[in-house]
Symmetry: C2
Subunit: 469 residues, 2 copies
């Protein structure tokens, strides 16, 4: 039997079954699942497996549906197999949940399989999806808009679910049923073209086969296999990048290192952003354009813009940190305070930056006028206490270099044109009660280097976690 052999090779390739498995076969009464049951029944000695049959009456089609159930019971009994038949009022469930008929039926059906598998100790659940179903799914996703995840179509194996017929054409399955005189019933709702899926199956695919490619179904099945493998690999690599780039994870808030993302392949960054959104919402996926908005945010060094995503997710870039959170206003940078290592490097996870501190003799010190805003040179011996690095706080006051008196830090930062969202990202180096450096903006006047200075404290802000921190 060519079909039997093809199915066997396909099952082996995906390691669907091991000796000793108890396989529950989901049988609707249509040719696909009836053929699947019959094939597995014939192979069961060779495969050393035991079989059971499960059938759910979705109560969409009254007497017709009860006839399907009787057919499945009769078939299972004639093969000497245990059979589990149940009814569930899917129309009522659909009413309650507002799901589409097909979605509601699918959810209820898989819950039923889970439940029967648990009850009977089945290690596998075999389903009758075939190559034409696969092509239809891939074409449906392609038309609706998708990436690789949609083009991979139905998986041959997912958890305990296996689909041994996924590479077999429907016509071969129907031939098999006829050859073995198997009793089958057709679900009349499969013929209704009011469903998009049915229109794809009954009208579009035949038309495309006639007009463009008689081997279209094979081409789509092959595309599915390629995309499944490539998607798996890309997801693995994206998971690794996600782990490297994620710097801090609180309930409902994720912080990513901008530099790590910007230096990575865009294909993976896109997937990391989608992962972050899924992690926050538990939902399936973001659209291409939503990911584009996040990418634009990531590439924009001017902080403060907040991108709004579906399900209440927001995102903003502040300095070297990309922040995604759910609900509420921008969480901003949480309050923090760390003793400053002198000499040494102090890493600040809240802003994904490090402050490097060195003591140097005045003779080795650079010209203070040559320093960037991310460096400071101070007279070490004038500092009034132990050094700490912390976030700015309500009421902070400060005497900026070049000014005669203390000013409110907030007012000073506004005058300097620092955007509101950036202000919490500035690390303040404080000694006792005094702010000696507003990192990234300006050092304090009282501790500037003078002709009397002997030892200098040289401070530097570095991006990310620097080795040694």
């Amino acid at each position: 039997m060519a079909l039997e052999q093809d199915v066997r090779i396909f099952m082996d390739k995906f390691r669907m079954i091991s000796p000793g498995d108890k396989v529950l076969v989901g049988v609707s009464g249509g040719p696909d699942s009836v053929a699947l049951l019959h094939l597995l029944w014939r192979m069961k000695g060779e495969l050393q497996i035991s079989l059971a049959v499960a059938h759910l009456n979705h109560m969409f089609r009254g007497e017709e549906a009860r006839a399907d159930a009787r057919l499945v019971e009769g078939l299972a009994k004639s093969l000497g197999l245990p059979v589990y038949v149940e009814e569930f009022d899917v129309p009522a469930y659909r009413e309650r949940t507002g799901l589409s008929a097909q979605d509601a039926a699918r959810r209820v059906r898989y819950r039923f399989f889970e439940e029967v598998a648990r009850r009977t100790g089945a290690s596998r659940v075999a389903l009758g999806h075939h190559a034409d179903d696969q092509a239809e799914t891939i074409l449906f996703n392609f038309l609706r808009g998708t990436g690789l995840a949609g083009l991979k179509g139905i998986p041959p194996v997912r958890g305990k679910y296996i689909r041994p017929l996924l590479d077999i054409r429907r016509r071969e399955i129907e031939d098999y049923c006829r050859e073995h005189s198997l009793p089958v019933r057709e679900d009349a709702s499969n013929k209704k073209t009011i469903y998009t899926r049915n229109r794809i199956r009954l009208e579009l695919i035949p038309r495309l086969e006639a007009d463009f490619n008689p081997r279209l179904v094979d081409a789509l099945v092959h595309l599915g296999h390629i995309c499944r493998e490539e998607n798996d690999y890309l997801e693995e690599q994206a998971a690794l990048l996600y782990g490297r780039a994620l710097k801090n994870q609180k309930e409902h808030c994720l912080l990513f290192a901008v530099a790590e993302l910007l230096s990575s392949p865009p294909a993976l960054v896109r997937r990391v952003l989608r992962r972050a959104w899924r992690h926050l919402t538990g939902e399936a996926d973001l659209s291409y354009l939503q990911v584009e908005c996040l990418l634009a945010l990531l590439h924009n060094p001017v902080g403060g813009k907040v991108v709004e995503l579906p399900r209440g997710v927001r995102a903003s870039r502040q300095g070297q940190v990309l922040r995604l959170w759910i609900g509420g206003d921008a969480p901003g940078v949480p309050d923090y305070s760390y003793p400053l290592e002198v000499p040494g490097i102090t890493y600040i996870p809240e802003i994904n930056s490090s402050v490097k501190a060195r003591l140097i003799s005045i003779n080795d010190a650079p010209d203070p006028r040559s320093l960037s805003a991310r460096e400071a040179l101070l007279d070490y011996d004038t500092l009034p206490g132990l050094l700490t690095v912390r976030r700015r706080r309500e009421g902070d006051r400060f005497q900026p270099l070049g000014m005669a008196a203390h000013v409110k830090l907030k007012k000073f930062l506004i005058e300097q044109g620092i955007p509101r969202e950036e202000r919490d990202c500035l690390p303040l180096v404080v000694a006792g009660d005094e702010i000696i450096w507003v990192g990234g903006v300006r050092p304090g006047e009282p501790w500037k280097v003078t002709p009397d200075t002997k030892r200098c404290l040289y401070l530097q802000i570095l991006e990310g976690k620097v080795p040694g921190a």
Copy 2:
């Protein structure tokens, strides 16, 4: 102008143009390329570029085509730009080459652009492809059967070619032409549904938009961007694996390490095999099913099967080596001979294996009966000369362990059931004229360990190139 801004953002995103570039614009006379020329002409000051126009008359459509050429010349002159117009008899070229009308036109057109770009010193060639062209290309490839490479569609940038309108819909381009009263002509052959591409554009896409997704073109354009990025990343990773797995490269013959491929993600292995085929043939690609045959070969440890691929490429697996070659019979393992390092590790690239040799005292030696066929223990002090490892040769004779006399090696290997294709993969360790070990099969009787043995030579076959070799 919204359109102008969108085009500008798209050009920046793909870094299409730098100040000082000389851009040759390919203009057919249709709305796409006329709008492109006009847009670039308006931006040229801001972009700091200079422009020139190129038009090829393909001589498919007599007087009509000459009118197109006159239109382009007039437009270029009205914008004060240099224009290069040429004629080429594509129908005659098509006759000579047997190419399709569209393929012939494309080849001739790109040759013309190359030639004019070289002559005028243009650093960029801008073409008018737009979002509807992109969707049409992706849908065409999808229907014909493809992987990611086909789904990425037309590249925004390839070498000197840039396509600034690739994300813009045709209807926006036509609106732009009307708004600016630009003179345009429609190529009547674009309306002929005898071409598959035209049927996709004129009939299929409108029908799919009406029946399934009014935003289909956007969905396909987005899919193109995603697939381009993912394909680029996968190709980079596949190139790295190709470099690691390729063990030997001769004219028309590539040898890959089976272990390296088997331990790598299948998505990359598939791409490595396609690369190998492209490398041998210079041709575009292998089909899914052809790659499947190669994968089956790779996974099958029983050597000897030869897979035939298009363009005269053949492949076989012999032991730890996957071999792809072009033309002729199986090249088999080439003759080789290397001095054996004692003690040390000798790598044999021809079979991608190493032979490890150690001298050990009889007191430390393992029980000879516990050894696998890939190990041997010999009496070192009885060996008749310097040690060499080589391929078997015509006329080799050998006294196998446990036999009283020499036999023909070939006959012995046949009796041992070693398949013909495997025999050349066995490394022979020889000392002077004598075979002391048929690696992987049996040591020689005269050098077996006896109660008199003091020093043993312990040999081992290891897969691949072992550190230290």
